[in-house]
Symmetry: C2
Subunit: 172 residues, 2 copies
């Protein structure tokens, strides 16, 4: 944000959570991470976020244990950012907020459709009508009728095909 950064006097777990994942850009970074974005450059291209802010947010998320930085290639050395268990646990909250946006702010119908792969049904209210709670890795995203397809960055293009959450996105 500019969300200052903290909410000192609040004895409230929501305030604590927001200090960590409520800063400007952070929820979108996490959404991208669930989608399968892992590399600094891909976050950068897809979010149009200032480089310094992205670096600061990723560092804060790693420090807090929401994401982890891990080597995926040695020559040249390259790291990627992946969600930890604590980070993956954010999925229901993030997904429900996104669905609220779809319900109340999308004119053209849903921009993305979420399917529970084990049973094939579409998610409702953040869970599977048939199976109950879902794990993000069992969910597939697909563009819906409200999708715009105006962006041409590598991540947006890759997302025009159906894609399983948390699976690394193949970018050129």
């Amino acid at each position: 944000m500019a969300l200052g950064t903290d909410y000192d006097g609040q004895d409230c777990s929501l305030a604590r959570a927001l200090e960590l994942v409520g800063e400007r850009w952070t929820p979108l970074i996490l959404r991208d991470a669930f989608i399968g974005v892992r590399r600094y450059g891909d976050f950068l291209d897809h979010l149009d976020i200032p480089r310094a802010v992205l670096a600061a947010r990723l560092q804060a998320l790693v420090d807090a244990g929401v994401m982890a930085r891990q080597r995926y290639q040695d020559a040249p050395p390259r790291d990627e950012y992946v969600l930890t268990a604590m980070g993956r646990d954010l999925w229901p909250a993030l997904h429900l907020l996104s669905q609220w946006g779809e319900r109340h702010l999308s004119e053209q119908g849903p921009r993305r459709v979420y399917t529970h792969l084990p049973c094939g049904s579409q998610l409702q209210n953040g869970s599977c009508p048939a199976c109950g709670a879902v794990r993000p890795e069992d969910v597939e995203v697909r563009p819906g009728p409200g999708a715009a397809q105006t962006r041409t960055d590598a991540v947006s293009v890759a997302l025009r095909e159906p894609h399983r959450l948390l699976e690394p996105l193949r970018t050129p």
Copy 2:
């Protein structure tokens, strides 16, 4: 934040939602509204938020249709801010984020305990294990073992007793 204010190029319902309810302070204002806070002065005392920011946020929420401003007294004229249906629909998302904070950031156990009044069971993962989805007006909040009770503003004091969500808080 400072959360700037918008996320222009993002074709994503999460970005749209965040432009509305992701600004600094806004989630805490909404949490208070669910708790039953309705008056400008009560928000002010409970949140320690700058007056100008509170006024701007409430106005934005009213403009967006998330809250409504209604007269509750004519002499002198006084208005209160209450959640609309669109606003009340945010409860699952807000509650899940708060629960994530409880699970991962509360050292002393939960600060607040949520009970589904019709059946008496405690909420898990944002819904009732017995009944499924819950409406906020059917939920009771009570301080839990991790509650601090350090604040002495009227709202915090009123919340030391069990309280039904959305019910107006009685402040002196």
